[in-house]
Amino acid sequence: MRHLAKYIITRILLTIPMVLILLSIVFLVLRIMPGDPVSSMLGGHAPEKVIEQKKQELGLNEPMAVQYVSYLWQVAHLDLGESMVFKQRVTTAIADKLPATIELTACGMIITLILGVFLGAYAADRRRQVQDSMIRLYGIVIYCIPVYWLGLMLQLIFGIWLDVLPIAGRTGPRVFASTFEQTGFYLIDTLLIRDFAAMKDVMIHLTLPAFTLGLTLSGIFIRLTRANMLDVLKSDYIVAAEARGIRHRRIVYRHALKNAFIPILTMMGLQVALLMAGAILTETTFSWPGMGRLLLERIYLRDYPTIQGVIIVFALIVAGVSLVVDIIYAMIDPRIRY
């Protein structure tokens, strides 16, 4: 266990340069970018003097190196600063939008895992048969369908033609989120106050975006599961289990899948980046008030601190998930020692 603790500490320390590098790239990109927060806030016709004064106030007239160092100093104190466009702390803006994104990505991930792992295992079991080919074809095709287009088509089919599911927002017009907003995770909030009508409404609104995200990523997981299952199914203990007369289905879905799951778990850490990118696009398609929409809105407004804050949070999520995945990996597989 001491090895594990040491490993965790090293990993946490290693995320610092990663976040720093990404932050530096984005900081530089934002400053080189045409336009600035003051002009976008006041419009192009404000008097020169007002613009200059405002820039002075926000510290935009300082040399870039000074701005950079003072921003890093701020971040080192866990302070993301204040928005340059709205009177709002960056942490408040992010805390407001982050739960929506996490709720969406978590539900999407669950759908992906269920679909991907079971279809992949089934395909491996039926290797080189019709079912295998069909599932692999589905995997390739779904991977090539852009998540935003899949979202639009699902909106068209289920929202417009069949008219059974809503196509925008987290709640319907009659459900007031303010009556139950505590954690920001609406599924949990509605459960906490036992408002099941509102919960149903939240779930209905979550269905299409979560399936859009889940379906898109399922292709990768089918592929991963299938490849790992094929390796596992060839191993000696599977042959031994067959010889002992254990039912085939039990061998495939219990014995083999359990062992094939470890590499899948590690890959999950890497897929978080794809999940986040998919979430941004899905949020745009479904008018989902999450981090992706926040990022895009603020890029148009050139709101430097908020954009940097969003990037830091995304980088931390990616680093955090891969850390957790590695720790779980180390715990469930006793052969791995650091």
């Binding site: 080189i32 090539c144 287009w149 068209l156």
Partner: protein, 294 residues
């Protein structure tokens, strides 16, 4: 044996043809992918064969006409022909995605070679930067770069190319590290070959073959990222004909049921990405016999 990029490519192509029959399904995936890609490239090269309409013509037909008759895929709200916009839009997406893949492969491969071959502090720093960018969602970086460069075909190409550099870097660096240890490299060093010779004559040809597959899959991904950026309203001025922008425009007419405005551009993006993916998958199977047992 004389190793050079040309002979390496020749070997790729000869194995390509001779192993065709051996691979069954994978071969057909490759052929289907190549057919899709060549078809769309042909469409982009000779658009006038495919449509009599001008993609900018705001009097091509009635407003928001459904598919059928003179307008194969209907017309949009500005009375433009959707099929003509599809045909001409293929030029933009192909140009951006292929060029972006070329740029990122050139930068990524040369940096990977240099980093893996020289080692030391340079290798450490480059690896750290590349790894940090690699694990971060590429789309978010592309969004930031697209906003920085402003709208334009070259600008969006650069924004897309930035995010794939680490992919090539990691692949090539890893390969360079292992090839560096090979006996034939040691032999070359023993007979007095210079570092430049070893890098370009011995390591580079062996690395380049594996990047072919990555390049093809990279183009497929770049297609989806390009369309994603323009769908989000970044990267291209409205005067350019582009599938992603048409998709964003068609989105406004989704609630009123004008399905053809979103269906066809999205279908084409998927088809083009599918073509390059199948090409890459097929190539991967054929170039890597170890995968055959799967």
């Amino acid at each position: 044996m004389n190793y050079s990029p040309a002979s390496a490519l020749a070997r790729v192509f000869s194995s390509f043809t001779s192993m065709g029959k051996k691979y069954g399904v994978e071969w057909w995936i490759l052929v289907a992918g190549a057919a899709i890609v060549l078809g769309i490239v042909f469409m982009a090269a000779f658009p006038d064969i495919f449509t009599p309409f001008n993609p900018y013509d705001q009097a091509a037909g009635p407003q928001l006409a459904p598919p059928g008759g003179a307008h194969l895929m209907g017309t949009d709200n500005l009375r433009r022909d959707v099929w003509a916009r599809i045909v001409f839009g293929s030029q933009t997406i192909l140009r951006v995605s292929v060029l972006a893949a070329i740029i990122s492969s050139m930068i990524g491969i040369s940096m990977g070679l240099l980093s893996g071959f020289s080692g030391g502090i340079l290798d450490r720093i480059l690896s750290l930067i590349m790894d940090s960018v690699y694990v971060f969602p590429g789309l978010i970086l592309a969004i930031a770069f697209a906003a920085m460069f402003g709208p334009g075909v070259i600008n969006i190409t650069l924004a897309v190319s930035v995010i794939y550099i680490p992919t090539y870097f990691r692949l090539v660096r890893g390969q360079t590290l292992s090839i560096k240890q090979e006996l034939y490299v040691e032999a070359a060093r023993a007979i007095g070959a210079s570092s430049t010779t070893i890098l370009w004559e011995y390591i580079f040809p062996n690395v380049i073959a594996t990047t072919v597959v990555v390049f093809t899959l990279n183009v497929a991904d770049a297609i989806m990222i390009e369309a994603a950026l323009t769908y989000l309203g970044l990267g291209l001025p409205p005067s350019v004909v582009d599938w992603g922008m048409d998709l964003a425009m068609g989105k406004k007419f989704l609630p009123s049921g004008q399905w053809w405005l979103i269906t066809f551009p999205g279908l084409m993006i998927s088809l083009l990405a599918l073509g390059f993916t199948m090409l890459g998958e097929g190539l991967a199977e054929i170039l890597n016999p170890r995968l055959l047992e799967r």
